[in-house]
Symmetry: C3
């Protein structure tokens, strides 16, 4: 289960600085700040250099990128105040590396302890025959999963089909210019009270998510994921452009909790456009942002 | 962005006559009537001849039909008492023709004013490689979108793959005999009160939608759309026949708010059949109608 | 509509023994038992030998298996205390054999009466071009459908593509080693009270469903179905393995009420794994079980 550590990521988790997740842009003069927990990534074990974290990632943890045939090793150091884990979707792992269900060595990582997860990116972790050249998988903490997901302990893995990687050192797919990831999820910040339900994209609400910027004619992959509970049925809608979703042409893609799907767009109209959930009450509650297509 | 006005529609909107949307068939002796707003279509700018509106369209606005390569021009005259717009899904438009978000010339059309929208039906507005020969897109008002959608300001655009149109003057696809459209949506008529939630197909409830009539062996395209809020997860079910849904054989198709999908049926059993949402509480609340397959 | 009774099943229904559906594993010392109704199958009209009912089927009625071209005949004897029927999805039937809507001879079978349903498995009941070699259809009672579904009167039909059956006497598909079926549904046992909502897989909750056992490298088909109401949006998630879902690689499959979809898995990691709904509140409410991949 080792490829010589080709794709090795050093991750540590810590209680984050107060985050903008709960800030309601319209409520001027009074800021509501909710503390979130986040996965923070470093380039190596010295934990001195942060992994690049594009603005549009919001509260998401680092996006791990691999090619079918790789092995991912993540050294996870829990700098928070509670037991946590990392449980990946899609990867090949044994019980020690499942990071879930109080079963196996990696199921519970206590505060200030660390564990190195080994996840094999086998062919069953890669794109299916009708998938595009790269697909997305969620990872999240899974000690008390529903609580930890709501705290913000969520990230994604992107797997490129073998032969479609740009080069031996760059696992991104060569047939697209840019890859964006969007998490549609209602964070529950005040124990189920309506006013504490934060309808977010990557943890940001009411247009506070920035950085989705691309240009005319680019090939753009959108990796769409969702999490949450019974009301987290979301319909991702882009204004101005359409996407190809497994051979279906649309501008609305349906996701439910833990859905993971990847679609492709070639922007054909420049401007500042909306990206929002098309469920009426979600859109009104802030599940919306602006994104840009430069001429 | 002009094809010489080949597909030009003159549309005006007006506050409609009282509509049957809220009539509960079982509540004899007492009719509950809710006023809806509707898009009304005319054959030309004289606004003297109404576009054909088959009975099964219910409260839906006119169905615009185009072929990839066409340009759609809609002269929209707002005869209602509030600012409105027309925002199309899927089409290629610039900001002036987006009809949304208070941005651009067509974003807000005041009462008794008009605006001509130009929408280009480019290849990214047409069927994808796994789509059938025609696909459906929604259009709706988008000044205060959630309110106006609930008022009934909803219609559809159908786009036929280039080369699959019947003739230069008939954009309908030549491999199907009939095209039906069904909107699954819960209209909210009494400010969220349970009794005001009208679980409708094309704005009609408890079997009040009529006109879905076809024959044995016909090739029938069903264009399915939905709108609404968090409870508008619908499962469209036909009795007696099955459909082909992007290569999947089924008799239940899932839609969420703003889903747009097109499936094909060849009726193989004659009779009067139910078409209904298979969500138990929606079915009981009236989201059901009868349709006919003649021998 | 007869193939000489090749696939003829004798089914009778009776009020079942108290069932485990409502037993909450954690609530020790106090068992909550809810009575369910079930379809019970016999090998022939003598009703002496029960059809095999693997443990993992839980409260599901017998799984009927056929090949495109077959005719299914079911002699249904209602041994319960209320009028019932059998309504199949997908099959070719006339009004007498629809088993629904108070219309036709088989629409209502009174207590202690019987009716023989004839359902033709035509090509439109079989897998579509993008479906795997076998697909699943629901059947359920449809006199007062929503009540009877909640009572447990639910079963499945599996149809194999012509030419993919193992032999003339074994309709199971030859390209898979095992077929499992999973119904995701919230049974409503105490008139909508939260505590009576039993979030179940095949009618079992909190790990009480047993019998999903397979081995490394087997070809396993999972037939996934759902039923219920507006909150029955479920996301079926397997730990440890992935599935191929109409060419899409994933480990989470979305279902809504009456969804029917079939996916294929080749287990690649041994162990005891979770199968659960990934909707947070459903998972916490017991919609989860363990399954095994033997080395």
């Amino acid at each position: 289960m080792d490829n010589g550590g080709k794709n090795t990521l050093e991750l540590c988790t810590l209680r984050s600085e107060p985050d903008q997740c709960g800030r309601r842009a319209r409520r001027m003069g009074k800021k509501l700040i909710y503390n979130k927990y986040r996965y923070i990534g470093y380039t190596d074990g010295s934990r001195s250099t942060l992994l690049p974290q594009p603005e549009w990632m919001g509260v998401l943890g680092p996006q791990l990128q691999a090619v079918v045939g790789d092995t991912i090793k993540v050294n996870f150091l829990n700098k928070s105040d509670r037991p946590l884990s990392m449980h990946p979707h899609g990867m090949l792992y044994d019980k020690d590396n499942e990071g879930a269900n109080m079963d196996g060595a990696g199921a519970i990582v206590q505060p200030n302890e660390s564990f190195t997860y080994t996840w094999v990116v086998d062919k069953d972790a890669g794109p299916g025959p009708n998938d595009p050249s790269s697909i997305v998988w969620l990872y999240h903490s899974h000690v008390m999963a529903e609580e930890e997901i709501n705290l913000g302990l969520i990230g994604t893995l992107v797997v490129t089909r073998k032969g479609m990687e740009r080069s031996e050192t760059d696992p991104a797919p060569k047939d697209v210019d840019q890859e964006f990831t969007s998490l549609f999820m209602i964070f529950n910040e005040e124990k189920d009270k309506e006013k504490g339900l934060k309808h977010s994209i990557n943890g940001r609400i009411f247009g506070n998510l920035t950085g989705y910027e691309t240009g005319m004619g680019k090939h753009v992959r959108w990796h769409l994921v969702a999490l949450g509970n019974e009301v987290d049925n979301h319909t991702v809608h882009w204004h101005g452009q359409t996407v190809l979703d497994h051979g279906r042409r649309t501008d609305v893609v349906e996701v439910l909790p833990a859905s993971m799907t990847s679609v492709t767009m070639v922007p054909r109209s420049p401007g500042e456009w909306l990206l929002h959930c098309h469920v009426n009450d979600h859109m009104m509650a802030g599940m919306s942002t602006r994104w840009h297509v430069w001429p």
